[in-house]
Symmetry: C2
Subunit: 186 residues, 2 copies
């Protein structure tokens, strides 16, 4: 199925599709993450007083940035896949490979920032921090935490794939020196 002469071109395309799937699902799962629960906060006589609380991703700045960062990286991979499939004629003074490597670099840095900001907040929500007297909240908002954790794992997979893609982009640029199409760039 994979042509022998152009192995790496297909590899990168598949890696980009996987990275797109990972960051896009991270964006969607975190972006829809909301849990509403009703707790008994007091009892007057025998009447329980209830209050409804919501856990939303918008309440935590790190999660908002997580959604933005993963969304932008998804968009980047979508554009790169489109260019790879439909825009093979686009090139300006041989800058194409260098531009791809630079855009990959910037997006890898972005997803790294997004996921690491979120993961330490998630850790705090799960375990709390006794020194700062910040209590864990995952015992009360389990679904919220499960969804957030899933989004973070997906984003870490996206980060790992983006690092591999960025390294391949740099290697491709280096190989293009000798004009051998070893890495399958058309």
């Amino acid at each position: 199925m994979v042509p022998v002469t152009k192995p790496k071109g297909w590899v990168v395309l598949v890696l980009r599709l996987l990275a797109l799937a990972a960051t896009a699902s991270a964006t969607i799962v975190m972006g829809l993450n909301k849990e509403t629960k009703t707790f008994v906060v007091a009892t007057v006589g025998t009447t329980p007083i209830k209050a409804t609380f919501s856990a939303k991703f918008q309440h935590t700045p790190a999660f908002v940035f997580f959604v933005i960062a993963n969304g932008l990286v998804s968009f980047h991979n979508l554009v790169m896949i489109s260019v790879n499939l439909f825009g093979k004629k686009l090139d300006y003074k041989g800058l194409r490979l260098a531009m791809i490597a630079i855009f990959d670099l910037l997006n890898t840095v972005l997803v790294s920032a997004g996921v690491n900001g979120a993961v330490y907040m998630a850790e705090l929500g799960k375990y709390g921090n006794s020194h700062a007297r910040w209590n864990k909240i995952c015992d009360r908002f389990k679904t919220f935490c499960d969804h957030g954790g899933g989004a973070i794992i997906a984003s870490f997979i996206g980060l790992a794939l983006m690092i591999v893609i960025s390294i391949i982009s740099i290697v491709k640029l280096a190989k293009s020196k000798s004009n051998t199409p070893l890495l399958g760039e058309p």
Copy 2:
């Protein structure tokens, strides 16, 4: 002072020195960040009961990773500066520029992860999060927060410099195709 034929070689060296200064000071300031304070926690009769609390960077996993990430990136820039100054003969099948670009990429991703994990924790310490009932602690541990904030600003400067250095490394690799020493790589 700067030779006309090799302008960018010196630029990168200066950028690396600045990045090294930024990430090294971030590492040291955060690594030494500790504040101990004594508070009155109760009063028995007229005798105040005091307790001593410490705010240390080790109490927050994000700050520990911040110190490790900035330390590693400082080490990377130190090695790169040394190689640039003393190791000009080191090359293996022309892989030197590609390896530099890849190492720069990995370290930029690392410092991005470190600083963004820490900045959202710092934001939480400064403003708290009323939704999760996490109270701010910077009103009580002002020096700790000031030092942490300084370290984070230094690390953001280091991140910006590392992004510029990584882009230059990729451009250098692209330019080396035509064998013109435009970017001053010896």
